[in-house]
């Protein structure tokens, strides 16, 4: 081959590399822009009281704005509501999701498992607003009222497919030799699953749970139909409750409260970011 041809090929190689790099930069660009925008606008709202006090009334906020002061209050009612609903959703979705994922990994050839697997995909693709309206029909209507419980059911349904998939995928990549070694010692399937396979898969499953949490923590639509919102801090399960994403929506709709949007957004963003970083760290540690 002539030197010219080789040079040409190396040149094309370099060109490709540049194109790939530029496209990669373009796709992270919006991400960085979002982070920057929210950080810039929300940064000066973050204070201790922002996390400990409930949403101010529109009147108080208006007064403060007129007086040229900082808007009092914060998003504590939303944080408490989000945590309560997330907590309940996790309690239901984690065991159910892990068991379902275990089934899919162990019986992947059965017809039933194939159907379940397909439905899981379908559930993952279901628009959250539909999950909200369904939960409204199923939970809010029979219970005769909006509640934190209804909100947690909606979040739980949204978390399930992610936990199922991560459990299934992780169990499937665990070497078959471990399972066989456990069974070869005389253990029954359930014990080998509980003592050997699931512990070995813990890292992957936990990462999946964290990702599921960060997926649903910002969900607004399903909570509009179920949790509704509440302007003060509340701990009861059977009453309407607030959530951080719901607050962002409310702030947007109220000209007096609009300044609070950015603090709340920043909080959500940082929370999700932290969860993702932990998930990443765990996945890395587990892979070693």
């Amino acid at each position: 081959m002539s030197t010219l041809k080789i040079k040409n090929r190396l040149y094309r190689d370099k060109l490709m590399l540049w194109i790939v790099c530029i496209l990669a930069a373009l796709s992270v660009g919006p991400l960085l822009a979002i982070l920057g925008e929210v950080l810039l606008r929300g940064y000066d709202q973050l204070s201790w009281s922002f996390f400990t006090e409930p949403t101010p009334t529109a009147y108080k906020a208006m007064k403060a704005i007129e007086a040229g002061e900082r808007i009092p209050g914060g998003i504590a009612n939303g944080i408490v509501g989000t945590m309560i609903m997330l907590g309940m959703a996790i309690v239901i979705a984690v065991p159910a999701g892990i068991l379902c994922g275990t089934f899919l990994a162990e019986h992947s050839n059965s017809r039933f498992a194939q159907i379940v697997s397909y439905l899981t995909d379908l559930l993952q693709g279901t628009p959250s607003v539909i999950i909200g309206i369904i939960t409204y029909i199923w939970v809010v209507v029979p219970m005769k009222g909006y509640s934190a419980f209804a909100g947690s059911v909606a979040l739980c349904i949204m978390m399930l497919p992610l936990i199922i998939r991560s459990t299934e995928e992780t169990l499937k990549i665990i070497p078959a030799s471990l399972k066989e070694a456990g069974l070869a010692l005389g253990g029954n399937k359930a014990r080998v699953m509980l003592k050997v396979q699931l512990p070995a898969a813990f890292g992957g499953i936990f990462t999946g749970i964290l990702l599921a949490i960060s997926r649903v923590i910002g969900e607004t639509a399903p909570l509009m139909f179920t949790a509704l919102g509440c302007s003060h801090i509340r701990f009861s399960v059977d009453k309407p409750i607030s959530a951080v994403p719901l607050l962002i929506w409310e702030f947007f709709n109220d000209p007096n409260l609009q300044e609070l949007i950015w603090g709340a957004s920043l909080f959500l963003l940082l929370f999700v970011l932290t969860l993702n970083l932990i998930a990443k760290y765990l996945a890395k540690k587990w892979n070693q």
Binding site: N109, P175, S177, L178, E180, A181, G182, L183, A184, L185, G186, G187, N188, R191, V192, K195, V196, P199, A200, F202
Partner: protein, 255 residues
């Protein structure tokens, strides 16, 4: 020769993965108690498949059929409960597979944990010490029993797996190329260990390595395309093979 006590008997044992093809064809053989029996043969000849039939590993895969009989102390394994058989027939795999989430201590006891058997602390300690001593690992790990088993070297891990299998006091120990993932020195240790262990347990070992079969086994099987071609004293098999195929394999013309 001493009196022969059969512990394991294959009677026209067949294993098939699909309806058309048999991986193991009508194997009949008697394994003597407290011996090491080597199963040799080229890749794909069915030696591992035969071995895995003994502890009913094939039950895990619904497509695999095992026919004929395999007798353990006169009882047909194929009609017994898998968990019962596996408690009496231990297995060591090709790649060392200590349970990664368990400490060395828990790995040795994992057979009991997995069978739901509770032991007192004293029983546990005694078992650990005895098993680890019998695989010559005690001196190396006695101070790090709480470390994960996966911290050990490959050879140590494999000895840990043997200790784990021995803890259940099996009648028969199946070994599926236990040294093929190990370096020569670790292999040598394991071989010496097996020679020592045959006093306690009957060993059936699949090996790719003819030298290994010659060094440690008293009886040898040669399998080819699923058939048991030849089965005799290791010395006889190596020095005076009857079948042409065995000769071809031993001289390196095949496999």
């Amino acid at each position: 020769m001493e009196s022969v006590t059969p512990i394991l008997e294959f009677k026209k044992t067949c294993v098939s993965y699909t309806k058309q093809t048999m991986a193991v064809k009508y194997v009949s053989a008697t394994i003597e108690k407290n011996t090491i029996t080597a199963i040799m043969g080229p890749s794909g000849c069915g030696k591992s498949t035969l071995l895995r039939a003994v502890n009913l590993m094939h039950n895990l895969y619904p497509n695999i059929r095992v026919d004929g009989e395999i007798l353990l102390n006169g009882e047909n394994i194929l009609t017994m409960q898998a968990i019962d058989v596996r408690r009496r027939v231990g297995m060591v795999f090709q790649r060392p597979a200590p349970f990664p989430t368990m400490s060395i201590y828990d790995n040795v006891l994992s057979g009991f944990t997995l069978n739901g058997i509770k032991l007192s602390k004293a029983e546990k300690d005694a078992t650990i010490e005895h098993c680890l001593k019998s695989v010559a690992l005690w001196d190396e790990v006695k101070d790090v029993l709480n470390k994960k088993g996966t911290f050990l070297s490959g050879g140590q891990q494999q000895r840990l797996c043997i200790a784990r299998a021995l803890a259940m006091k099996p009648d028969v120990l199946l070994m599926d190329e236990p040294t093929s993932a190990l370096d020569p020195i670790a292999t040598k240790h394991i071989e010496e260990l097996l020679l020592e262990l045959q006093k306690e347990v009957t060993i059936l070992i699949v090996t790719h390595n003819m030298g290994q079969a010659k060094r440690i086994s008293s009886k040898s099987m040669f399998m080819y395309l699923g058939e048991l071609v030849e089965y005799s004293d290791t010395e006889t098999l190596f020095s005076n093979p009857v079948d042409e195929r065995t000769k071809a394999y031993l001289t390196g013309k095949m496999g």
